[in-house]
């Protein structure tokens, strides 16, 4: 069946020029979207931004991801990826509450390194939620790249949000109809813009919701972390949720974007969606980083952000 690419293109928000990085050649676009150059021509005519370099069109990877995700073809790579990643959300939630152990490795790369200097990683911050961090090997000062290793134990707990105000604000956000999209991390920090476009993402959603909770008189902060079990570390997904102190004095996490995505991507995920609204589950490792902060730093003085790639494997 002919994919209505024009309709798909009009259904998403392309990354604004200010935040766009057109790094992917047309060959990648064709592979991701399972289409040929004629269909790419149609997407370009429908507004898909591109840059031509050495005679080859290049696209922003987020735009390609969003086109694939909302193409409704069931064959693009983003659709297949998210279908696989969210299989867990339809399983019995008790599996998400048990203790699990993860072999946690993060590779830090300083692309424009200016020389030897200390590395800083916003470490797993799991003890607050009943987990533990052991066998830590933090990188020594160096240049270029480094690796942080640890064993992380996660666990779950049913601690649904109690405060009616917090539940109301969360429900209002979910009902507002924002559309989940893959968005560059620097743009996600501009959460007002993201929501003005009618879009949402985990970091942008968490920053906005945390602000609304604070406005309602609660202590709340968006925090970054890692989503575990993303296909052997082959894929990397940014993650963030809201941490808020509930009326019972306990710290609760609200994983608003995962609740939205699960509802969209996988049938029978009602229990998981409820778990996202206050409870702790064992597939997330919170970090010390706030919602829009970088996870890794190198003190060499380079202005280029450190590239951070996590490989989190379940210990068998």
């Amino acid at each position: 069946m002919d994919t209505p690419w024009e309709k798909v293109a009009h259904s998403i928000e392309f990354v604004p020029v200010k935040y766009s990085s057109k790094s992917q050649p047309e060959s990648v676009a064709q592979e991701m979207l399972r289409c040929g150059s004629a269909e790419i021509d149609r997407l370009v005519a429908a507004g898909l931004p591109y840059e031509e370099r050495s005679g080859i069109r290049h696209f922003d990877p987020n735009d390609l991801y969003n086109l694939g995700m909302y193409s409704n073809t069931a064959k693009t790579q983003p659709e297949l990826t998210f279908r696989m990643l969210f299989r867990f959300a339809g399983r019995p939630v008790d599996d998400l509450l048990r203790t699990r152990i993860w072999d946690f490795q993060v590779r830090l790369e300083c692309a424009d390194c200016a020389g030897e200097a200390p590395w800083r990683l916003e470490e797993p911050d799991i003890a607050r939620f009943g987990g533990s961090l052991t066998d830590v090997t933090a990188p020594a000062p160096g240049s270029g790249s480094a690796t942080y290793k640890a064993t992380v134990t996660t666990t779950g707990a049913r601690t649904p949000v109690l405060a009616p105000v917090l539940r109301r604000l969360t429900s209002e956000y979910l009902a507002a109809g924002y559309r989940w999209q893959m968005i560059p991390v620097p743009m996600q920090a501009d959460y007002a813009l993201v929501h003005e476009l009618g879009a949402t993402s985990c970091i942008a959603a968490s920053l906005l919701l945390a602000e609304r909770f604070r406005d309602a008189g609660y202590r709340a902060e968006a925090k970054r972390g890692w989503f575990c079990g993303v296909v052997g570390g082959a894929l990397d997904l940014p993650h963030a949720c809201v941490e808020v102190e509930d009326d019972d004095g306990r710290l609760k996490t609200i994983d608003i974007a995962k609740a939205q995505l699960a509802a969209r991507l996988s049938a029978g995920t009602g229990d998981f969606q409820e778990l996202c609204l206050g409870s702790i589950y064992n597939k997330v490792i919170p970090s010390t980083a706030s919602g829009n902060a970088a996870l890794g730093h190198h003190d060499c003085g380079s202005q280029t952000p450190v590239h951070v790639r996590a490989d989190i494997r379940s210990v068998r």
């Binding site: 991701m32 790579q77 297949l80 867990f88 079990g229 052997g232 894929l235 490989d311 379940s314």
Partner: protein, 80 residues
């Protein structure tokens, strides 16, 4: 070579026109013969060939590192 492993080999060769043959111990990850774009497709292919679902949480990149590793991890019974 088993039928499933022939399909695996075909999948990789189709996506790597520069390769004319595959050795069982070629590092498919480091050589980029299976890149991150193709990774999920490859898992779905393995599921189809095995006739059962693969839990993405249980995957280890080393399971995909060579044809020999893939055969041992996913098609052990067929290989035996």
């Amino acid at each position: 070579m088993s039928e499933p492993m022939k399909s695996v080999q075909q999948f990789i060769l189709e996506r790597n026109p520069g390769l004319d043959r595959l050795d069982g111990d070629l590092d498919l990850i480091d050589s980029r013969a299976i890149n991150s774009l193709a990774f999920v497709d490859f898992i779905f292919l393995l599921e189809e060939l095995m006739g059962e679902a693969i839990d993405p949480e249980e995957l280890d990149l080393d399971d995909f590192r060579t044809l020999n590793a893939i055969e041992a991890r996913f098609f052990k019974q067929e290989a035996a």
